[in-house]
């Protein structure tokens, strides 16, 4: 095992002091001076309707109103993977609360007053509120122009239908596999929509100045992707990419909601109509729920065949995704699951149909876990039920089927090195799986549940990262990257990587959230790829800087380059122990030679990284032939719960979770992701419950009626376990793990409930009410 000085250490966050002192500034904390304007949105009160007319004349008369804009001002579509979205609704609205127009005024009060005076007349259309209805014959079309939308080559929309994409896997011989099975279990699982619930609202401020420069300050996971989408969508107004600048301050939670582009483009577009003034668009809690992305809902039909010993002979997974009104990002969730819905198992015969279905509900999009939480709820419930039927221990059946390095994934690529079996063993031991627990209180039932998880980053095959590393006079470093620290600790880990290569302590490395003018390109901070992807770019930049240092020393001190090394901010030489030179003596000002001349110059490292082995070229009928995913991160988790049989209330007592992050670059931050992810998982399965009425209006867009856990809901014990089976192409062996930690929670709680009471709940959330009704049903039987 290589000994590291900075890697693998629990360094304190580089942004820690800012955050505990109150100094950290988020987008809405920034000051833009007395010329700041405020935009208010006009929303449509129909889930599906044609817009017949918009009358802005009364709104324009309100004092202090500078502009009223509508879809007519911006007849442009945009989107990350499929251009099916509009800045403001064009001829129709497709979800309740969609933006129709915006009023820009000197004060928020004037803007609000005027927004109420915008008169819109509608002709309501039949609405489609469930994916199952949306795929029925003669269902009303939500996007009649679907076939005309530009999209990435790996999407397969079905024209004249509500199916925006169908990802299809055909591997082996599924019919034969089911014939060979001793037992086949088939059932349907339902997972509804969820909201990210970052505590900070979406916020964006944009200024289009008189020189033609558009600057956008936004709470963002994706500054460069936002720049790209703004520049593309607004190109008809004369913008080039280098005219657009996105500045990203601290982000008060993302979880996917601030990836890609949603409301930020409203600020960018509106600013171009009030040239010279900064304009603020600030969302509120209600809009956070119904007009950003929501996690997609899914109805998953799952059929698995097994031999008597539990080995899987065939799997068929059919997933009907409620992707909402616009799927420019959400369709890739559907795609990712389509590729991976065999779970972390070796399955020779598999078929998967993952359908991205338009509905008249808010747009579905990226949410921590990117579809894997949703399909693993069914799959990991199913594995437990099969084990129970066969009389095999639930952990043992998973061990027998666990995917191993080199096994083929559903699309025929080789599985990466991984510690799945180590994770299973570690969790089994820590939770004391074989120990039977019984409460002394007859009203309390105790149950244990187990679940595996896996997830791959879902990215375009050419998603890339880059880094500039600038050395300063005192050998301190400015590290310029464009990943976002959303709280996961990304910037700290990047500093640790540079520190390790250059022997400069992390306390001397400054790295901050980006400005797209100054910081080099990053695709997005999503997919749990940033430690791995941007980490590789930072490592390359640090090695580049080190090479420049060694070249210079070899040239000026006539030492063999391959004998040089860095230690404690000094260059040293293996073949000449008497030699040492502090970095601060030359990294900016160079080295003076005997004749008084100087050699060298400022040391500036540069690194960029793109995974050059990924490809989405595959047969669309089978998905065989490509290599769409860079790697999978795997793990296992178990829970002990108590259920009050009188109230149905579940109390989570203990959770153990093991994740194979390849190499924990900062174990304290890895633990933080595990604990936080577990709590978010508990929240989705036990607390959160999104309600829509018959009009498609969300009924509980607030924290009073949409519950997320408080400190009083924390389990008595949470035990994070780190497994390290190195990722060959990861920085120091690291691979991502941020999203994964919440994925196993819902199925393991469902499994623990079955274990405690012998009842199986197949729809999320698992509320006390559902449990009580099942208990009553069982008592009647």
């Amino acid at each position: 095992m290589e000994e590291y000085k900075f890697i693998g250490k629990s360094a304190i966050r580089v942004d820690g002091k800012e955050k505990v002192s109150g100094a950290a500034l988020y987008t809405d904390d920034l000051e833009f001076g007395p010329d700041l304007l405020y935009a208010e949105i006009v929303e449509g009160p129909h889930a599906h309707a044609m817009i017949l007319s918009i009358d802005t004349s009364e709104a324009e008369k309100v004092p202090e109103v500078l502009a009223v804009v509508t879809g007519k001002d911006f007849p442009y579509n945009f989107g990350l993977y499929m251009k099916d979205r509009f800045i403001f609704a064009q001829d129709r609205v497709r979800f309740f609360g969609e933006q129709i127009a915006a009023v820009v005024a000197r004060t928020p009060q004037a803007a609000k007053k005027a927004a109420k005076l915008v008169k819109v007349s509608y002709a309501p259309l039949p609405k489609v509120l469930s994916p199952i209805d949306a795929v029925k014959k003669n269902a009303d079309l939500i996007h009649p122009d679907l076939e005309n939308y530009e999209h990435v080559p790996w999407f397969f929309p079905k024209p004249k239908s509500n199916i925006a994409h169908h990802r299809k896997i055909r591997k082996g011989n599924v019919d034969q596999g089911f014939k060979d099975a001793d037992y086949v279990l088939e059932d349907t699982y339902e997972v509804p929509r969820y909201s990210h619930c970052a505590i900070e609202y979406h916020a964006a401020v944009a200024k289009y100045d008189h020189s033609g420069r558009l600057t956008v300050w936004a709470s963002s996971q994706s500054p460069h992707t936002q720049r790209n989408l703004f520049a593309n969508a607004l190109a008809p107004l004369g913008l080039k990419h280098n005219d657009v600048r996105v500045i990203a301050p601290h982000v008060g939670g993302g979880f996917g909601s601030k990836a890609g582009v949603t409301m930020e483009i409203i600020a960018a577009a509106v600013a171009m109509k009030v040239q010279g003034h900064p304009v603020k668009v600030l969302w509120n809690r209600e809009r956070e729920f119904y007009n950003t992305y929501q996690r997609l809902g899914v109805v998953a039909k799952l059929k698995i065949g097994v031999k008597k010993d539990g080995r899987i002979t065939a799997l068929h997974h059919e997933l009907f995704w409620d992707a909402g009104a616009y799927v420019e990002y959400g369709a890739n969730v559907v795609n990712a699951v389509g590729l991976s819905a065999i779970g972390p198992y070796k399955v020779e015969n598999a078929s998967i149909d993952s359908y991205c279905i338009y509905t008249n509900l808010p747009p579905g999009g990226p949410y921590r876990g990117f579809g894997y939480s949703e399909f693993l709820f069914g799959l990991e419930s199913h594995m437990d039920r099969i084990a129970k039927h066969l009389g095999i221990d639930p952990i043992e059946i998973r061990r027998r089927n666990a995917i191993k390095e080199g096994d083929l994934t559903a699309y025929g690529a080789h599985m990466n090195p991984n510690g799945l079996l180590q994770a299973i063993d570690a969790v089994e031991k820590e939770i004391k799986w074989s120990e039977k627990l019984k409460s002394s209180n007859p009203d309390i039932a105790i149950g244990k549940g187990f679940s595996l998880f896996w997830k791959a980053p879902a990215m375009p095959p050419n998603a890339s990262s880059s880094c500039f590393l600038k050395m300063n006079e005192d050998a301190s470093i400015n590290l310029l990257v464009s990943g976002m620290d959303l709280g996961q600790g990304f910037l700290t880990v990047m500093a640790q990587i540079a520190a390790e290569i250059l022997s400069v302590p992390t306390s001397k490395i400054r790295t901050e959230n980006p400005d797209t003018d100054r910081n080099p390109y990053e695709w997005q901070t999503v997919a749990s790829h940033i430690t791995w992807g941007c980490g590789n770019a930072v490592k390359k930049a640090a090695i580049d800087a080190r090479d420049q240092i060694f070249d210079l020393i070899a040239r000026t001190n006539f030492l063999p380059k391959d004998m040089l090394y860095l230690e404690d901010e000094k260059v040293k030489c293996k073949s000449d122990p008497s030699f040492e030179l502090a970095l601060r003596d030359f990294v900016i000002n160079g080295i003076q030679m005997e004749d008084g001349t100087f050699k060298g110059g400022p040391i500036i490292g540069r690194g960029s990284f793109m995974p050059e082995y990924t490809s989405t070229n595959a047969n669309p009928e089978t998905s065989q032939g490509g290599h769409p995913n860079v790697h999978y991160t795997v793990g296992a988790a178990a829970a002990i719960i108590e259920i009050d049989k009188q109230t149905g209330k579940v109390k989570v007592k203990k959770i153990v979770e093991a994740v194979d992050c390849g190499k924990a670059l900062n174990p304290s931050l890895v633990d933080g992701q595990i604990v936080g992810g577990i709590m978010q998982g508990i929240s989705t399965v036990l607390y959160e419950d999104m309600k829509f009425d018959h009009r498609g209006k969300m009924l509980n867009p607030n924290f009073t009626d949409y519950k997320i856990p408080t400190a009083l809901d924390v389990p008595d014990e949470i035990i994070p376990i780190i497994i390290e089976v190195a990722q060959p192409d990861g920085p120091f062996g690291a691979r991502g793990m941020g999203e994964h930690t919440m994925i196993p929670v819902a199925p393991m709680i469902a499994n623990a409930i079955d274990n405690a009471l012998g009842i199986r709940i197949k729809t999320m959330p698992i509320t006390a009410e559902k449990i009580c009704l099942e208990i009553l049903k069982k008592e009647k039987e």
Partner: protein
């Protein structure tokens, strides 16, 4: 507009406010104090917590005009003389992630340990039960508070 005065982080301040202006917006937009955050504007999330006469309140639920002559403390006031042992413990344990809930939550704990320097785990949980956090799962915060209140 009415002229009011109150002590903000130890300094007597004068300000003109309309009767319907909320304390949170006055602190943030008129007085430049940015640590209290808006996360729901309805008293659910606790991100706007400030200390009013020694007790935590949600500044989004109070009119600015109500604090005339009173004493208000925000995290800026707590941090004036460097980090407190509580803030240091939270920082050293990487207790926060995005940090948006931190100002409100730290004030809630500050109120608790002033009244009760050695709280139980349950008392700590209760003290921050009105501060929603989506990142941390609360546990690292609870652990840091337990550590620092055992030490001091």
């Amino acid at each position: 507009m009415k002229k009011i005065s109150f002590t903000l982080n130890g300094e007597l301040r004068y300000i003109y406010v309309a009767p319907n202006e909320g304390l949170l917006e006055v602190l943030r937009d008129k007085m430049g104090v940015k640590s209290p955050k808006c996360g729901c504007d309805s008293g659910d999330c606790g991100a706007c917590t400030v200390i009013l006469n020694g007790k935590t309140v949600r500044s989004c639920l109070i009119f600015a005009i109500e604090v005339d002559g009173q004493d208000i403390l925000t995290l800026e006031g707590i941090s004036k003389d460097g980090l407190t042992p509580l803030q240091t413990a939270l920082n050293e344990r990487n207790a926060y992630q995005c940090g948006y809930c931190a100002p409100g939550m730290i004030l809630s704990v500050t109120e608790l340990i002033k009244k009760n320097p050695h709280p139980s785990e349950h008392e700590i949980k209760e003290s921050i039960a009105g501060n929603l956090c989506r990142c941390t799962g609360y546990k690292p915060v609870i652990d840091a508070v337990l550590e620092v209140t055992k030490k001091h």
